[in-house]
Structure formats: C-alpha cells, structure tokens
C-alpha cells in the first residue's frame, strides 16, 4: 500500500477501499469547492396519500428499499449498549444472502460484537464510523476485509455532504414514531433523549427506514426526524434493553485522583477567568467530567455567576444546573441518563441539537467553536499537545472519535486525564495515533499538575499568580516515566498494512492505524 507523509508528519494511504483520499494539509487548510451531495427527487404521489408507511417487518422494508450487495447501510448509536436492532438488522441482511455491506454507524458498542461473525463471513465488508472494544480489536488484528474509516460526529456529516459517503439505506431506531415516519427519542419505553445523529442520514440517504417499538397515531409531535424524509416504518417488539440505553458513565467518579483532576479543572476555569457571567461550556460523560461540573457549580453559586448555555451529552448534573438557574440553556447533542431524557421532554430550555448545528465542517459556522471551554478526555497526549482517543499505547484500536475532534475548536480546550493508568503513561513522546493536532489543545490537566500549551500565552498569563500546580508537560512526563520504570516501549506494528484511517473534521486523512504485528 502506498503511503504519503501528510502535513502532520504522519503516513497515510492515498487510496482507501478504492476511493482516492486527500492527506491532511493542516488545521483549516483544506476546503473542498464542489457542489454538495444531492439525493434523487422524490414525489409524494409515489407514497400512500393516507400517510401510512408501515410495513410488516424489517426484511420487507429492506427488500422494498432495494437492498443489494455492496450497499452502504447507516445506523445510529442513540440506544448505546442497549441496542438490539442493529444486530437484528444484520441477522436479516445475512439471512437475505446479501454481502459486502459498508456499515456506516455513528458509533459502535460492545453489544455489537455480535457482528464480528458477519465481518468474518463477508456480510459486512468494512466499518466506517467507530470500532469500539471487540470490533476494534478485530480490526487491529487485520481481520476486517476492507479498511476501517474513523470519523468524528461532525466529520460524518461532512462526509455525507461531501458525497464521500453515499448512504443507500438509513435504518433509524426511534423510541416513538407515527405511521408517516415522524419520530422522536424523548419518549416511549426505550426513550433515549434525542436521535439527532440520524438527521443527516434522513436527509441524504436514498431510502430511510424508521424502526420503532412505540408506534403512535399521527402526529408524533414534536418530531426530531421529519416523516417527509422517511420511506418506511417498521414496528418491532423492542428496540433493546432500556437499562443499557443510558450510558454507564453517568456516575460521578469516587476515585480520589480523578476527583483531584476534576477539582483542578474547576479551579483552572475559575482562575483563567473563563467562569464569568454568560459563559458557556461543554461537558461530556465520564466520571471526571461529571465531577468537574459539580465543583464548578459550587464556585458559580459562591460567585453568583450564571452561564448562558451548556452543551451535553447531558446528565442529571447538567439538568440540576438548568433547574437551579445556573445556566439559561442546555444545548444537547445526546442524553446520557433518564433525568436528561425527562428534562429534554419537559423543559423548553433543554434544546436538542444535531451534528449539523454543532459540529459540521460544511455548516455556515457551528456551535463547537462558540463554546468558551470544552473538557474532554484522551487515551494519550504527547509533549507537543497532540492527542489520541482511538488507540491505546499497545497499538490496539479500542474507541471511536465521537464529537471529540469537533470540540477541540472551543475557545479553551482542556483534556482532563490521569497522568498514567495502572502502569501505562498517558503522556508520551509521540502519540500512537494522531486524532487531534496539538495546536487546538490548550490545557492538559492531570493529578500531577496542569500543563498549558505554550501557544496560549494568554492562559499562561491569566493563571501565573494562582496557586495552581502549573508545570511544563515534559516535567509531568518525566515524573510519570520515573514512576512507571522508564518510557513505555512502542508497540510492534505492521507498517505495511493499514487497517483503519483517522479522518480530520474536513475529510482529509490525519493518520493511519496499523495491524498489530503477530
């Protein structure tokens, strides 16, 4: 495979799965000038005038949608690890004898390890989206037929609009829908909050199938997916296990070290002057991120400060901030617990957003860059502030990008991470896989100190008189290497075989993921 060196100094393939790729050219250095992708003209006279699009089962819907070998099928991760339908979908595709599907999910979860047998037998050719846990391991071992493509949530929307990915059939799981195809995620027995990640798919796919376990008479209002974009509706017994639909990462950490990191994050946001009336922030899930919100909340209360908006994934902790008047709005991308789902349903100031509004590179602006601070995680960072979220230091692909790359555009991007996990240093010389260029990462906060990107002289100045443990990132790395018994040895990788690529938000190729050497 022919690899070229991109602007980040990483080697990337010029062609992936038969399609020409553009190597990363630098942050904000590339914008395509083509015309956006289009979908074929549809006419309402081709649909029943009574608005009833219900078919008896998924197989019928797939047949009517014209499922063929080699098609692209998209799914969405709103039901997270509780999703039963994606597995059922591929069981059906397998039973129909269809091969070489390009699976285009917004994210995958351990529950989808069921699909490994379909990757092995050729039902699925490759995955474009995320390859988490067992699927990532499978990919790293070089077992997937095609090359995986990892994109951010915003990058996925960009790829659809670029025409880089044309979706033949979108299968959208909807906790509540009507026979016309209007659908929502904020109610029903499988309520998950919102299903905004499917918005682009519903607009650009050739065929759109809604699968629901709560079919109600027209109209389903308010709708998150508009029925006018939907071809078929299928009712099933159950979309999955509601207990697993809410993410497992919605409890505040009890780890004293993670709490210390969270406390430093809140202290930093205050000391750097970010916490002021009308400010905004993005908080993801994960124990440390939830905890910093709680620390910040106390500071905001004490100082009488109110935020204008906060971006989720929301949890009960953000909802409390909204209900106690500490923020005017929650602009929510996904909902991580049932309190978040309830709030979204009941509170007009808890607004659902989509990757189009929040993250899309081809939008006329997006919300991510308007946020004052975003607090994120990473599997590795290096001394140039580059970060990795998809592979571990042993070279295995284990996570997706999510909205992480897009959030790097916030005015102050903070990575809140432990300096090592067990014996594995998190701060390294050079990240195994580059997912975020260092120039967009402003602050790294660990339990051993806070490192500020030298490019951010303003931040360095703002906190220089504070009591915060500000350190050079190399100093933290040195401390950690001493604890762990030297810098970690790099994994042995087969540089001849790229198993997946990491796309930047603009569609260029940022880095390659290689097969683990046998």
């Amino acid at each position: 495979m022919k690899l070229v060196k991109n602007a980040a100094g990483r080697f990337v393939p010029k062609e992936v799965n038969g399609e020409v790729q553009i190597p990363f050219k630098g942050v904000d250095k590339y914008k395509p000038s083509r015309v956006k992708a289009r979908s074929p003209i549809k006419s309402c006279i081709d649909y029943r005038s009574d608005g009833n699009k219900v078919l008896k089962d998924l197989k019928t819907a797939l047949k009517k949608a014209g499922l063929k070998d080699g098609m692209t099928i998209s799914t969405h991760h709103h039901l997270r690890n509780g999703d039963a339908v994606t597995n059922m979908l591929f069981d059906t595709i397998k039973a129909m004898g269809i091969k070489n599907i390009r699976w285009f999910p917004t994210a995958s979860f351990p529950v989808h390890s069921h699909l490994i047998k379909y990757l092995e037998d050729g039902t699925i050719h490759h995955i474009e989206g995320s390859m988490n846990g067992p699927l990532g391991k499978f990919t790293s071992e070089g077992k997937m037929k095609g090359i995986g493509v990892l994109r951010s949530h915003g990058g996925r929307y960009q790829a659809i609009q670029d025409g880089e990915v044309h979706i033949d059939i979108a299968v959208i799981l909807a906790p509540t829908a009507d026979p016309f195809g209007n659908a929502t995620g904020d109610r029903g027995k499988s309520a998950c909050g919102l299903i905004g990640f499917a918005l682009g798919d519903s607009e650009y796919a050739d065929k759109v199938i809604i699968v629901t376990d709560n079919l109600i008479p027209f109209p389903c209002v308010p709708w998150q997916i508009q029925g006018n974009n939907v071809d078929f509706v299928v009712e099933v017994e159950s979309l999955g296990d509601p207990k697993k639909i809410v993410s497992g990462t919605t409890e505040v950490t009890k780890s004293p070290d993670r709490l210390l990191i969270a406390e430093y994050v809140a202290d930093f946001i205050e000391a750097a002057g970010i916490m002021k009336d009308g400010f905004s922030l993005q908080a993801g899930a994960g124990g440390t991120n939830l905890a910093f919100v709680l620390f910040l909340k106390e500071k905001m209360k004490a100082a009488g400060i109110k935020a204008r908006f906060m971006r989720g994934g929301s949890t009960k902790y953000l909802v409390e901030m909204l209900e106690e008047g500490l923020t005017d709005y929650i602009l929510d991308g996904q909902t991580f617990d049932l309190e978040g789902v309830r709030s979204m349903r009941e509170n007009a100031n808890h607004v659902n957003t989509s990757p189009f509004t929040s993250y899309n590179f081809h939008g006329k602006g997006n919300f991510a860059s308007m946020v004052d601070t975003a607090v994120l995680g990473a599997t590795e960072v290096d001394i140039k502030f580059n970060a990795n979220v998809v592979t571990h230091s042993d070279g295995y692909l284990l996570h997706g990008i999510g909205g992480w790359q897009n959030c790097l555009y916030s005015k102050c991007t903070i990575l809140a991470i432990p300096s090592f996990r067990d014996r594995i240093p998190v701060i390294v010389d050079r990240v195994t896989t580059l997912c975020g260029p260092g120039e967009l990462i402003d602050v790294i906060i660990t339990e051993r100190g806070i490192a500020i990107n030298p490019l951010r002289k303003d931040l360095l100045k703002a906190v220089k008189d504070s009591e915060l443990p500000i350190k050079d990132i190399k100093q933290i790395k040195k401390e950690v290497d001493e604890i762990c018994g030297g810098a970690p040895v790099k994994p042995k990788l087969n540089k001849e075989k790229v198993v997946a690529i990491v796309k930047w938000v603009d569609g260029t190729v940022l880095d390659s993921i290689y097969e683990k050497a046998k």
Partner: protein
Amino acid sequence: MKQNIKKSSAGKRGDTVRSDCYFEIELKNSGGIKINLKSKVDTMYGESIRQMILDMSEFFGLKDANILLDDNGALPFVLAARFELTVKRLFSDLKKEYLLPFNKKNLYSTKKDQLRRSRLYLPGNEPKFFVNAGLHSPDGIILDLEDSVSPSEKDAAQLIVRNALRSVDFYGAERMVRINQLPKGLDDLKFIVPNNVNVILVPKCESAEQIHKLEKEVDKLKKQYKVENPIYFMPIIESALGVIKAYEIASASKNNYALAIGLEDYTADIGTQRTNEGRESIFARQMLVNAAKAAGIQAIDTVFSDVGDMESLRQSVIESKSLGFEGKGCIHPRQIKVVHEAFAPTTDEIEKAKKIVLAFEEAEKKGLGVVSLGSKMIDPPVVKRAVKIINLALLNKQIGKDWRKK
C-alpha cells in the same frame, strides 16, 4: 539455603486486581529460568519485566525454576516486593534483601513540632493507593502494617511497605508507618528503620515500658544501618488502661512527639458503642489531651470513618479542635482538605491574634512590662495563644509573611 517447599506464590490476581501482580515459582532441577508472563502492559514493559525477573532470580541464586507472573500493571516496586516474597516463602531463612534504588526525593526529615492536622491511613498491602497519596497533600501518610493487613499477608505488607518507603514519592508528607502491636511490631522495624521512616505509630499502647522496648530496638537498628535522621514515635492509646497510663506513655521517650487516641478499640474496651456525639469517649479524649500537653507533645484525635459525610467530618474536627487536639486521622484522601479547613483558625481568630501580637511587639519595643490592647490588659498566655494562631495561619497560607504591613 534451606528449602522448605518446591513451589510458592505471592501477590494478587483476578479481574478486580489493578496495579498489582501475582507470582508463582516452581523449583526445578534443570532447564534454567523459564518465564511465563501474562501482563496487561506486555507491549510497553514486557521486556523490562522479563529482565527484572532474570536479575532478581540471579540475585537470589535461583537457577532452575518455572516462574509465572500474572501482572495487572504493577509498578516496579510492587513487582520486586511480590517476587522477593515468593522466593522467601520458598526459603524461610533467606536474609538477602532485593532493594531498589532509594528515591532521593524522599531523603527528608521532619520536625517535632510541625503541623500534623491530617494523617492518611493506607492499607500496607494495597500498593495501588500509595503512588498518588501524597498528591492530596496530607500532613502525613501512614503505611499500615497492623489492622488493615490480614494475618496471612503480614509478610507481604512488610516488603511492600519497605519498597514503598524507598521508591514512592511522598511529595513532602511525613512518612509514617503503623507497626503491629508490640511485641510483634518489633519484627516490623527492620523493614522501616533503615528506609527513612519519619514516624512510627505504636498501636494499643498501654505502658511506658513498651515505648522503652521500642526505643531500644530502634536505636539498635539505627546504629546498625547508620541511620541519622530522627525517628519519632506516636503512641496510640486504644484501651481503658492506656488512657489511665496516658501521661506515663506520653513522657516515656524524648522521641515521642504526639499522643493519639483510637476510639474503635477504646469504646469496645469500655463496653460501649461509638456514637457521632462521642459522649462515651469524652473522658478519654480529655485525659489524652491533658497527658499530651503535660508531656509537651501534640494531641492527635482518632479517625473519622464515614467517608461520605463531609459535613459531619467538619463538625467532628471543630469539636476536636475545641478539646485541644491538633490532628485527625483520615481514611480517604477527600477528607484531607476538610480537615485542614476545619483546623485552620477562623478569620476572626486571626484578626484578633494579629492585634494582640502587634501590641505585644510594640510593648516589647518600648520596654513596657505590661501589654495592653485598648483599655484591656493582656495576659502572657493570651499572647502565647495569639502567636500560635498567627503561626498556624502562616502555615496554612491564610496570611502572608508580610502580614504586619497589611
């Protein structure tokens, strides 16, 4: 070497184990050293772990053995301790010690009268808690060999604690070890005295004689290992008899710097239950404070065991402070900050103390025998207390060194 058994094991394994490891050594008659390594950090540190095992095998004179390591990310000081124990469980009379280099950051001593508001207890056989403990800024860290270690793992904890004293950065916290109840605790000393322990906690202390025995043994070891830094003692009173003998114990050695109380055992001893109000222990605590002060040392209160209830902890510390205690035991790092805040002088106290100290200094300068503030005369003990508050406020960084100018 006297060989008792052919096969031995030590350490921890299983799904929930983190930052620890498990060794099995089976002695063979031939075949050299065979290593079966299962490690979650194999890619990053597999080679260095294999080399370490070979080095340690050579050090202990192992020539032919099958060595199994099940590693969940143990740090080098843990790997070394677990390996050494596995070997020592094979050869009970083995005296050799496999010592990793001493971390130079840990070569500090402490002072008799420094701040001892918080001391964080860490179970001696749980090394995963050690590495980051100092980051939470306790005044002292206690590696515990006593009640938190099961009887069958006492030998494991001794080696882990020894290696931790050498390798783990305590970030300036006072380095303390709670030994086992005497006389058994005397066996613990050779693992800690040569490794720059600052303070030895003596549990269930009931007589001056125990402290004398301890002191003798410590002095012997200090001489043997050429240890020059001071090693202080903190006897813990945990019984009715101990309370009655509190002054005798407190004044038993010049190396005593504090007297502490342990209320779980004490309340059991007097046949009652420990309550949040603590009325059942008011006599013991007052007795202890009085004995400590009479002997000129610090009085240190028991641990607060409800880690989820920070408000009750705060109240408990405020009460401790009012009784005359200067420190509190912590069993979770999140308690430390609360303890420090509650022991800190209040703004009112500091402001009053500033005025008194300034008036005193003014009077001294003018050569006046009597200090007065406004129309009030100030007695010497009031000045003494004010100086103490100012010093505490300085240590807590509540005021700067230039407070006189402000």
